[in-house]
């Protein structure tokens, strides 16, 4: 069953994704940008899964949704540590 809030999340997420793609060159200069952007991409995949579970493979996609969220949080935490605590990135 499709929820409106999930659709809104996906739409705003895709908009943000387009912004990232548009400013990819600039954002690539963010320290450990692959981790940060990877975290966001996983989140988008989670939002996509939760929208899609209303149409097919509800259970599997639901699992995947929560998996993507968890993985995204791990990468985000790692990015925060890497950016704020790593000497290499601090110096930049």
């Amino acid at each position: 069953m499709l929820h409106a809030n999930e659709l809104v999340m996906l739409i705003i997420g895709i908009g943000t994704l387009l912004f990232i793609l548009n400013n990819h060159h600039q954002l690539k200069r963010v320290p450990s940008s692959n981790i940060l952007l990877g975290s966001f991409y996983l989140l988008v995949m989670g939002w996509f899964s939760t929208v899609m579970e209303g149409f097919l493979l509800e259970s599997l996609l639901n699992y995947l949704e929560h998996f993507f969220y968890a993985a995204s949080s791990i990468l985000l935490a790692f990015w925060c540590w890497q950016t704020l605590y790593s000497k290499r990135n601090s110096s930049s």
């Binding site: 929820h3 809030n5 999930e6 809104v8 999340m9 705003i12 997420g13 908009g15 943000t16 912004f19 990232i20 400013n23 600039q26 954002l27 200069r29 963010v30 320290p31 966001f40 989140l43 988008v44 939002w47 639901n62 699992y63 929560h66 998996f67 969220y69 968890a70 995204s72 949080s73 791990i74 985000l76 935490a77 990015w79 925060c80 540590w81 950016t83 704020l84 605590y85 990135n89 601090s90 930049s92």
Partner: protein, 739 residues
């Protein structure tokens, strides 16, 4: 706990951990900056809340948070958008800051003033060099400093015009101004300005001001140095050529044009091959000296070059590498000094040295000849004297009389031989007097015959009428010594031209030129009679251009050790000295003929009468006869006594002087030899004259370099005679002194 709840728990834990990590570093001076970091905190907070709501939902703890979860979840991507956008902006700002910092550092590191002006000319920015150069501080700039204050009053209009032009035409401007410092001093400056254009509109000016005092001073020094270089380059008397590494001519100096005859436009860009006398030398020198790989300094060298008119000349050449500031060879400088004159001088010097050596040899031969002549003349004097005495005692027609005549003839030939020897060795100074050229030629032919190789045939053709009697011949006024020398030089020249085999022909004839004088006989006077002497050889002959040069001093076609080049110039000098003319006919392979014309004279030579025609004069005076040759004193005594004189003889000069001192009035005449031990004849005469100034003295000598006729006269000696004298000559001389 369901697997989903577990995943949500992981989601929650790591979100919380991330939030804690960020919160712990909220004030750290690291990326992201504070603004972005607050957005990150919000993002993490929403993520944490969202994960908590999910965990509560999927743990089935409560369903009351579902709606809240939906709101938070919907806002989550928005926070991501905010956060990422903020970081992108932050990165742009960082770039801008870095760029500004870079610009500022760059600007401040410049040795020139970098400035910005508004449209009114107010200075809005200046780098660190601004205060240093102008004396105005940044505070002055902040308080309002207009560019007009910096420019000298005389140039304010110019500045205004330029600013207007920049605004209207939107172009860059490069001008020089006199800038006035804060302390009133001025300096020249170059200002480059361009408009600041924002959104297509000019908002001000940006530019660089450079103090060009040093540059102007350097420019002046460069100009001065260039002027000095030009002056030197143009005033050098040696040819100077500047070529590139391919040896193509880039520049020449005026001396090059003067020496070689080429204008710059004729040689510009050409290789220097064209002015080498030997074109192959261009390549040889190129490998040896004019190659960028040749590093060592090359010494000067001699090379033959060809002028525009084809003339080849030697030049001392110095090749110099021209390098740029990096030490790379960018070309060569060739300096060529024409050494034609130096070479000529060297040849002349070598010739003079050779001539000097020859002169020394001749001097040595002359000294030797003189010594021999003296002794030989004494011997001859004894022979002749005794023979003549004997002849007086024997009746004419007697067989012995003829034998004595033979002795006298032979002695006279010997006397003549000695005279020629002295003439040849130039010990006897000649004087110009009337001579029969045929006789001089005969005498010379005898000498020439004895010196030329037997393989060369000598034809001496003297006119038959001269052979019959000299009275049929004309005379010339000449120095016999010089005529002998002239003939010798011409003959030596002819012999050298012929080598081993040939015919040397010497002809003599008289010629009178009418008004029709051949065009090639310049110098011949019409209506005059000349003795025409020709010297011909069958040698290799000469080219016409050589004929023109053979009378030049030191010109020779012979090897350096075989000829000095002065023989024919001496010949020409002798001919001029005798008012004569010389002409040459020569063809290559056809031999050479010298035509010499001597003007004849009507003056006749005083010929002495033959002994047969005169009676020897007699006398009764007392004569002191002094000679270190006792035999000669005996001959003299006998002869003079036969003539009636009273004779006292003395072989020692000091004894003779003592004899004279004892009784000066005892003697009426003193006859003395010159070359004697103890006191020479001239000194003996001087001392005797001091005792008795009126004593007549006759000085005789076989040969002496110390005294001659003129010197004898200066001493007071009445007569000077050269031995050997025959009886007739002695008798006449004695009588001449007394009478």
């Amino acid at each position: 706990m369901t697997p989903i709840a577990f995943l949500d728990a992981v989601f929650f834990v790591f979100s919380g951990a991330a939030l804690l990590l960020v919160l712990c570093k909220m004030h750290a001076d690291t990326f992201p900056r504070l603004g972005s970091r607050w957005l990150l905190v919000c993002l993490l907070l929403f993520t944490l809340v969202y994960s908590f709501c999910l965990f509560v939902e999927w743990s089935h703890i409560t369903a009351k948070l579902d709606e809240f979860e939906d709101i938070i979840g919907a806002l989550l991507p928005m926070w991501w958008a905010f956060f990422l956008y903020s970081m992108a902006q932050e990165l742009s700002n960082l770039d801008l800051l870095k760029s500004e910092q870079k610009f500022k550092e760059l600007s401040d590191s410049l040795p020139h003033v970098v400035f910005e002006l508004d449209l009114h000319g107010n200075i809005t920015y200046a780098n660190l060099q601004g205060p240093v150069t102008t004396g105005y501080s940044f505070k002055d700039v902040e308080q309002g400093l207009n560019v007009n204050q910096l420019v000298s009053p005389a140039e304010k209009d110019k500045l205004s015009r330029n600013m207007t032009r920049i605004v209207t035409e939107k172009v860059d401007s490069h001008n020089e101004y006199t800038i006035v410092r804060k302390d009133g001093t001025t300096f020249p400056a170059s200002i480059s300005t361009r408009p600041i254009i924002q959104d297509g509109r000019i908002t001000g000016f940006r530019g660089i001001l450079a103090d060009i005092t040093e540059r102007i001073r350097n420019d002046e020094l460069i100009l001065q140095s260039q002027a000095e270089f030009e002056a030197i380059f143009n005033s050098i008397t040696d040819a100077v050529v500047f070529v590139d590494t391919d040896r193509k001519i880039l520049r020449i100096n005026p001396a090059f044009t003067e020496i070689f005859g080429y204008d710059f436009e004729e040689v510009r860009g050409k290789t220097t091959r064209f002015f080498y006398a030997d074109p192959d030398a261009f390549d040889v020198q190129g490998q040896k000296r004019y190659d960028v790989r040749v590093v060592e300094k090359q010494p000067a060298y001699e090379m033959d070059y060809r002028k525009k008119d084809g003339t080849v000349f030697p030049a001392e050449t110095l090749g110099v590498q021209v390098k740029n500031r990096d030490g790379e060879i960018i070309g060569f400088l060739g300096i060529m000094r024409d050494i034609t004159q130096r070479k000529r001088d060297e040849n002349e010097k070598a010739s003079l040295e050779s001539q000097l050596r020859q002169s020394h040899k001749m001097e040595a031969i002359g000294t030797l000849t003189g010594g021999i002549a003296h002794d030989f003349n004494n011997v001859l004097a004894i022979i002749i004297g005794n023979a003549e005495l004997a002849k007086l005692d024997i009746a004419e027609g007697h067989t012995t009389h003829q034998h004595i005549d033979q002795i006298l003839n032979a002695s006279n030939r010997a006397k003549s031989l000695i005279k020629r020897l002295l003439t040849f060795s130039r010990q006897e100074k000649g004087e110009k007097e009337s001579h029969y050229l045929c006789r001089l030629l005969e005498e010379s032919l005898e000498t020439i015959r004895s010196t030329i190789p037997k393989s060369i045939r000598l034809d001496g053709n003297i006119p038959a009428k001269c052979k019959e009697s000299l009275e049929n011949c004309l005379m010339i006024t000449a120095d016999s010594t010089q005529i002998h020398q002239l003939l010798m030089n011409l003959c030596i020249n002819a012999i050298d031209a012929m080598g081993e085999v040939g015919t040397l022909t010497i002809d003599l004839n008289e010629v009178t030129f009418t008004d029709q004088i051949p065009a090639d006989r310049t110098g011949i006077k019409p209506g005059c009679t000349y003795e025409h002497l020709t010297v011909s050889d069958t040698g290799h002959g000469m080219e016409p251009e050589l004929v023109d040069k053979i009378f030049d001093p030191f010109f020779t076609t012979k090897d350096i050790d075989k000829g000095t080049g002065i023989g024919l110039s001496v010949v020409q000098g002798i001919i001029k000295n005798h008012d004569g003319c010389i002409f040459i006919e020569s063809e290559p392979g056809e031999g050479t003929t010298f035509h010499i014309y001597f003007p004849t004279t009507t003056q006749t030579k005083k010929e002495t009468q033959s002994p047969k025609e005169v009676q020897l004069p007699r006398g009764s005076e007392h004569i002191l006869f002094v000679d270190d040759e006792e035999m000669l004193t005996m001959v003299g005594k006998s002869l003079l006594e036969k003539l009636g004189y009273t004779v006292t003889i003395q072989s020692k000069s000091n004894e003779a002087l003592r004899l004279f001192q004892n009784d000066p009035s005892r003697f009426d005449l003193v006859i003395t030899d010159q070359a004697m031990p103890n006191i020479p004849g001239s000194e003996l005469a001087r001392q005797m004259l001091q005792i008795r100034p009126d004593i007549p003295i006759i000085l005789c000598t076989g040969y002496s370099s110390k005294v001659d006729k003129r010197k004898a006269r200066e001493i007071g000696i009445r007569e000077f005679a050269l031995k050997p004298l025959d009886n007739r000559e002695i008798a006449l001389l004695v009588r001449k002194v007394f009478d």
